[in-house]
């Protein structure tokens, strides 16, 4: 027996996700989302995904515009200072995608319940708000009999696949954010059945052995490694490149007109099919 490589070609990335999967994607807002991977899903025309995206924006918008989603499980979806995410907004307003709103922390609790192998995680977050009642089968208020204290129980959400973007990875699956800013990504990694890492660069394992305290994710937690230079674009991959504000602005301008949007989307992501009308 010899050691196995986990390297997977970007062009075949979409094969790692099946129609109907629960997919979780990393990044935080304008930072370090696995955009190249999402583009592949859009091009392959994956359908009926349940997408878990804690604090996202452009990635969600791409997947909605390409018709990949059945349901969005989210904390926040926005382009921040660049405005509301247009396809997300339209899908929510027309009902073409089911929007399951959580909050950042309650969604993390649900992922942590999955990784810990417990039925739910308790938290004070969300008490007294309208959020828990949106999905009462997954979030419910309870009282601890012994202390009399209230809590919100968040049932486990176990993604079929989690995809995150990092600076460096090796063929064994070791992954490094450099420096180590993991956002919520390691929570997705721990919770998911299958983990895919896209990386700016593939490096030798020796590079991890030379600075083991800087490794962000251990090899055994990763199933596939995909080389994807500038794979977070147009989000940032700090400190290597910033988010592309020009693209965000151009995207928003184009979104005002369906044919302009189709043109921009075809050029940068994938041809739009008739899927958004379903």
């Amino acid at each position: 027996m010899t050691t196995q490589s986990k390297i997977w070609p970007l062009e075949q990335a979409a094969e790692l996700v099946r129609d109907g999967d629960v997919l979780a994607i990393g990044g935080l807002s304008l930072n370090c989302a696995p955009m190249a991977f999402c583009r592949e899903l859009a091009r392959a025309g994956r359908r009926d995904l349940d997408l878990v995206a804690v604090v996202s924006g452009m990635a969600v918008d791409w997947l909605i515009a390409a018709g990949c989603l059945r349901r969005l499980i989210m904390g926040l979806t926005s382009f921040e200072g660049f405005g509301l995410a247009p396809s997300f907004r339209m899908a929510a307003q027309t009902g073409s995608v089911e929007i399951e709103e959580w909050s950042e922390h309650t969604l993390i609790c649900a992922l942590q319940a999955a990784s810990a192998g417990v039925p739910f995680m308790p938290t004070r977050a969300g008490l007294g708000t309208d959020m828990p009642a949106l999905h009462p089968e997954r979030t419910w208020e309870a009282v601890d009999e012994r202390s009399g204290e209230r809590y919100l129980a968040c049932a486990a959400i176990k993604p079929d696949v989690a995809v995150i973007h990092v600076h460096e990875a090796d063929a064994l699956g070791n992954a490094r954010m450099n420096p180590k800013l993991v956002w919520f990504d390691t929570e997705l990694v721990k919770a998911a059945r299958k983990v895919v890492v896209t990386a700016e660069r593939i490096v030798d394992t020796a590079s991890f052995r030379a600075a083991p305290e800087r490794t962000s994710i251990p090899s055994f937690a990763v199933d596939h490694v995909i080389e994807a230079p500038r794979g977070a674009w147009p989000t940032a991959c700090w400190p290597e490149y910033p988010y592309d504000g020009d693209f965000y602005r151009a995207y928003q301008r184009a979104a005002r007109d369906p044919s302009s949007f189709a043109e921009l989307f075809a050029e940068h992501v994938a041809p739009i099919q008739e899927q958004t009308q379903r």
């Binding site: 921040e80 709103e101 950042e104 008490l127 800013l181």
Partner: protein, 262 residues
């Protein structure tokens, strides 16, 4: 600090009014599109609250940014930090345990008890306008003891008698509702482009504390969709001092704060 003859703009007034609310033991962090609070926290730290700690976007602790960029969650704010948190999940317990004690919210809608909506305008299932979502509002409203509200659009569409969706908890249904839920603290003030409001002690209803220079009480009443508590004479919000204005302009040289005023 009293009103001066200094030239200042409305954004500078709002920033200075909010800044004065932060005591020296503030440990605050900020969310997305939070130019006014970021600027106010920087101002407070540079003036009356030298021990104030601000964590940029729950990532960078006590940074010293040269300017405020287009995103209040991104690296433009991280320069000179004493710590870059590696994991947001690892960071949360500091808020839950009360070490991080302050957060600033704005909402597309705010009600009389300081609850906020950033989820939908109209019914949830078929919204008229889908907003970005509550994000951390549902978490922080419950868990951070000191909430500061701000708005740059004081009008009846923002200050409503009933939210279309309660994304973040203020005082809930008012009175002792938070205490019944087992939660500490609550919103302290709401600073807008017209006035400063606080909360009546027992009812927890929003109360007019001061009106900005040039604003009449009646104007605020008309701009507020719920019944505002008004007790006695309402003083004027002190204008920013010359030093404050100068500091604001130095701390936010590109005028990022103005993005919220359009």
């Amino acid at each position: 600090m009293s009103a001066t003859d200094t030239d200042y703009t409305i954004d500078e007034l709002v920033v200075s009014a909010l800044a004065r609310e932060f005591p020296d033991d503030t440990v605050a962090f900020n969310g997305a599109v939070s130019f006014v609070p970021v600027c106010a926290l920087l101002l407070a730290r540079a003036t009356h609250a030298p021990n104030l700690i601000w964590v940029a976007g729950s990532i960078a602790v006590d940074p010293q940014p040269k300017e405020i960029g287009e995103s209040t969650l991104s690296d433009a704010l991280w320069g000179g930090a004493t710590m870059l948190q590696s994991s947001a999940a690892d960071f949360w317990p500091y808020a839950q345990a009360g070490r991080l004690n302050s957060f600033c919210f704005r909402g597309a809608q705010i009600d009389a008890f300081g609850n906020v909506n950033n989820t939908v305008i109209g019914p949830y299932e078929k919204p008229k306008i889908r907003l970005p979502g509550g994000g951390g509002m549902a978490d922080l409203g419950c868990q951070v003891p000191r909430i500061y509200l701000w708005s740059t659009t004081h009008d009846p569409r923002t200050f409503v008698s009933k939210l279309d969706f309660r994304s973040g908890l203020g005082y809930g249904d008012g009175g002792d509702h938070r205490r019944r839920l087992g939660l500490q603290g609550g919103p302290r003030v709401c600073v807008t482009n017209l006035c400063v409001m606080d909360f009546q002690e027992d009812s927890k209803r929003m109360r007019l504390r001061s009106v900005h220079p040039g604003v009449e009480v009646e104007q605020v009443v008309q701009a507020t969709g719920f019944e505002l508590v008004i007790e006695g004479d309402v003083p004027q919000t002190p204008a920013p001092s010359g030093e404050e204005v100068e500091l604001i302009r130095r701390l936010d040289p590109t005028g990022a704060r103005k993005r919220e005023f359009s």
